[in-house]
């Protein structure tokens, strides 16, 4: 793939990511947790469709065209069954719900939609740490507004149809971790992402190191790599850039092969090498972001997490270089055969691994 093609594809993907669309329905849910250890949920949905779903479940014929009073009576009849479709779990333990109809509007006017508002409620165990929600009588995507205390601002979570939500932490019962705790946690995560989990990143750093044991070329390359991956890590985390892992991962593998092959061809820092390492650093940054985005970080934690995660990555890189230097290079770098018997075979091995991964990641086997 030419660089131009890669660029065009990248731009196309960035644009496409702005066009994500879900099938958003008309159901809305507002779930509130109260100080008196109870919860209430208000579900607004289309009444006739709701009745039809419950009728179908009971193997009864479907009604249609009911008046407001008839529909009220029909839904009242199904309230116990309806309660079984509302699943609120505290620390993964279900809290049985009771349901009532708080409002019903059925009008024969196209501009005013019919709706029923259901009020569900139940008990909440004291000191519960998490709450999860599921309402399986809807098929379209809908918004769950969750307020985890009476005076909390509700947070909106989009749920796919009848899917169960992830467990949401209940703030009052989860004292927020200190900044030190957060920093330490993500520093460890960043370090582990390279050592021992990131063999491809380790090989890339070793490829940088093998060019020469002189401090300046190593510093120039490591600095270029660090700046580049920090930039894309941040931009990816904020959703400003995104690139398919199907592109990022083969390119990361290719970058490993590139630096290793160049090590075989030359023993000095070429003028273009820092620029190439910078370019590959941009790709590696997107790869790093994958580990963080999977954690669904709260927005207020993104910056401290990013900084400490990045520090963890730098420490891991330095650890790799220090291990390679003190473990091997320091003892043999002045031998006449250092380049022919160590640098070139090691680089060839790294290049072969990088090329194998490139093919493997492109063809997905």
């Amino acid at each position: 793939m030419t660089l131009l093609k890669a660029f065009v594809v990248t731009v196309a993907l960035l644009c496409a990511s702005l066009l994500e669309a879900h099938e958003i329905g008309t159901t809305q849910v507002r779930l509130t947790l109260h100080r008196d250890n109870t919860w209430t949920a208000y579900i607004v949905t289309a009444p006739q469709t709701l009745a039809n779903k419950l009728e179908a479940e009971a193997n009864e014929p479907r009604t249609s065209g009911l008046t407001q009073d008839q529909l009220h009576a029909e839904l009242e009849r199904f309230l116990p069954a309806l309660a079984r479709h509302i699943e609120v779990r505290f620390d993964d333990v279900p809290s049985p719900a009771t349901v009532s109809i708080s409002e019903l509007q059925v009008v024969n006017d196209l501009t005013i939609p019919d709706f029923v508002e259901l009020r569900a409620g139940g008990a909440m165990p004291a000191q519960a740490k998490t709450v999860s929600w599921r309402y399986d009588l809807t098929y379209a995507t809908y918004a769950l507004q969750l307020a985890d205390s009476d005076d909390a601002e509700p947070e909106t979570h989009w749920l796919q149809g009848d899917v169960r939500s992830r467990p949401f932490p209940i703030a009052a019962n989860n004292p927020p971790p200190s900044h030190v705790d957060i920093a330490w946690q993500y520093l460890q995560l960043g370090f582990k992402h390279i050592v021992p989990e990131g063999l491809d990143h380790i090989l890339f750093v070793l490829g940088i190191f093998l060019l020469t044991t002189k401090l300046k070329p190593i510093l120039v390359q490591v600095t270029a790599f660090t700046i580049a991956h920090s930039v894309t890590l941040g931009l990816t985390m904020y959703g400003i850039v995104s690139l398919s892992s199907r592109i990022v991962e083969p390119m990361i593998a290719l970058s490993i092969a590139y630096v290793a092959i160049e090590n075989i061809l030359t023993a000095r820092l070429t003028p273009w090498r820092p620029a190439v390492v910078f370019g590959f650093g941009l790709l590696h940054g997107m790869g790093f972001a994958g580990a963080l985005t999977e954690l669904n970080l709260p927005r207020q934690e993104i910056i401290p997490a990013l900084i400490s995660f990045n520090i963890g990555i730098e420490l891991a890189q330095l650890t790799v270089i220090a291990t390679a230097y003190f473990g091997v290079a320091m003892w043999i770098q002045n031998k006449p055969w250092y380049r022919t018997r160590f640098v070139i075979p090691a680089s060839a091995l790294i290049a072969a691994t990088g090329l194998f991964w490139t093919v493997q990641r492109i063809f997905d086997f």
């Binding site: 594809v9 196309a12 993907l13 990511s17 066009l19 994500e20 669309a21 879900h22 099938e23 958003i24 329905g25 008309t26 159901t27 289309a46 469709t49 039809n52 779903k53 179908a56 193997n59 479907r62 196209l110 939609p113 399986d136 809807t138 098929y139 379209a140 796919q160 149809g161 009848d162 899917v163 169960r164 995104s242 398919s244 892992s245 199907r246 592109i247 492109i362 997905d364 086997f365």
Partner: protein, 276 residues
Amino acid sequence: MMKRLALSAALLLACGELQAHDFWIEPSTFHPLPGTVVRVGLRVGQNFIGDAVPRYSDGIAQFYIRQDGKDEPIEGADGGDPAGFLRASGEATAVIAYRSAGSPITLPAAEFEAYLHQYGLERVIAERAKRGESGKSGQERFYRYAKALLAGAKSSPDNKSSPDNKPAPAPSRPLGLDYEIVPDDDPAAHLGPLRGRVLYQGKPLAGALVVATPRDQPTGALRVRSDDQGAFSFALPRGGVWLITSVHMVRASFFSTEDWDSLWASLTFDRPGPPQ
């Protein structure tokens, strides 16, 4: 054997909470009189019970009606249900078409496999197993290709006013959707069995599961597989509104952020004859 039993049990358990649902067009009438304004609703659901999907422009790639040989966009207000309005000519059978822009979804492995099983996509189950992905969550982008037929005065099987009175050909002509159910005849006028083809990128698709669901008795859905020519046939036992659906799934392109693309075709129409 135990492994197979355990897998079957997991699939059955997961079937109770499937997150994959049919999509169809539900017009306010399937028999508009000339000049009638028809409300065109979009529905997502199962067993022909659907939640309304209000219009969302960013999610629509195409939404139009082909009537009297012309294509006209279906207009509507964003956020509105019904998703669109059209004025029917009421002449020959017209075709409403909707194509979504595609939405990503990720399902846990058991639920993804259960949905593949339910929609007859055993080929994908086998391919996931071959790739060692059976235990992985399913990442897909789903595309909707929905059609509905509006009968016109010339579509009526009782219409004997003209010697060249033939069922309107429009429903039997492919619209060029990536995945499409194309009846051989006009099912809004034709009283016999429903015969048609499923086309993937314009070519017949063999082995696709095609399901026909009557609105009045959705538990009596009929299921057949398309043959080598992509053809299927149903002896629809009753008149009334029917929903024909089929789902196809292919490996997503190299540049996709998902692993699979699923293509959901549907066709809704009101078949003449007693509801029984």
